[in-house]
Assembly symmetry: C2
C-alpha cells in the first residue's frame, strides 16, 4: 500500500472544484464546497499559487481561480507542489532524516521505481481524474480514518 499525504489529496479536490467554477472562489467558499477545513484550504492555496497552479485576485470580490486548465495540471505537479519531489519513502512522517546519505530508498535501488511512478503521474492530468470519476462528487478522502492494515500478516 502506498500512502499519499492527505494534503495532496485535499489539493486535488480544491483544484478540481476550482476547475468546475466560472467565478473566483474564496478560501471560505472552497472550504464550504469541499469539506476541507478552511485553514487547510488557505494554506494549500498559498502553496499552489506560489507554484503557479492557481491565481489569486485581491479585493472585495477577490478569490482564487485555476492558473491553467485542469487538463494542463498533472497529478504529479499537484503532489510535487504540496509534498515536494515524488519519491517512495519508508520513513516516519514529520521527523528529520538522521541518515539520509545511507538511505537506500533515497539513493539506490528504488530509483528506477521512483522514475517510473513519476512518469506515470506526469501522464495523468486532473481533467482525466475528474472525468474518470463520474459517479458522486469529487470529495476529499479525509473521512477514511485509517487502515493500511493487513491482518493476515500480523503476529
Amino acid at each position: 500500500m502506498l500512502r499519499l499525504s492527505k494534503l495532496a489529496d485535499y489539493a486535488t479536490v480544491l483544484l478540481v472544484q476550482l476547475g468546475q467554477q466560472d467565478t473566483l472562489m474564496t478560501a471560505t467558499a472552497l472550504a464550504g464546497a469541499t469539506g476541507v477545513p478552511e485553514p487547510t484550504v488557505a494554506k494549500l492555496l498559498k502553496g499552489l499559487a506560489a507554484d503557479g497552479l492557481v491565481a489569486s485576485h485581491r479585493g472585495a470580490r477577490g478569490g482564487y481561480r485555476l492558473a491553467r486548465a485542469l487538463s494542463e495540471i498533472s497529478i504529479a505537479a499537484v503532489i510535487t507542489s504540496v509534498d515536494g519531489p515524488i519519491a517512495l519513502t519508508a520513513c516516519v512522517e514529520g521527523r528529520v532524516c538522521e541518515a539520509k546519505s545511507l538511505c537506500a530508498l533515497s539513493s539506490g535501488q528504488w530509483d528506477m521505481v521512483n522514475k517510473a511512478i513519476r512518469s506515470t503521474l506526469e501522464s495523468i492530468n486532473l481533467d482525466d481524474m475528474s472525468r474518470a470519476h463520474l459517479t458522486g462528487g469529487f470529495a476529499p478522502a479525509s473521512r477514511c480514518v485509517a487502515h493500511d492494515h493487513h491482518p493476515a500478516r500480523e503476529g
Copy 2:
C-alpha cells in the same frame, strides 16, 4: 511523497539477497546478511512463502530459496504480498477504517491513478531493480529514520 511500508522495502531486500545465493539461507543468516531484524525476517518469509515467492525446506540443512527467478518477481507482487492490494491511501496506519464506503481514495477519483501505478509496478521486476543498483549493496532503507517534511509549506 508516497510512503511505502518498511516491510515491503525489507521484503525486496530479502528476496534480492536470496536471489544472489546458490544455497538455502536460514532466517538467521538472512538477518545477518541484510541487517533486517530476525523476527521481521521470519515473519516476512512466512508470508512470502504463502504467496509462492519463496520456498522453504525443513530439516537440519533447511532454509529458504527463491521459488522463481528474480526476473519473474515484479515489485508489484512483493508489495501486494506484504501490504495487500496496491492502492494509494491517505489513511492513518494501523487503525481500522471507520468509513471505507465514503472513502474517495478507495472508491473514486484515484482509481485511474491506482491502476496506472499498479501497471507500472507490475512492469518492474526485482532483477531490474537489483541490476539498476550497481553501486553499493542492496540494503534496507530502515536507517532512514524520517522525513516527509516540506518546510516551505509548514505553518
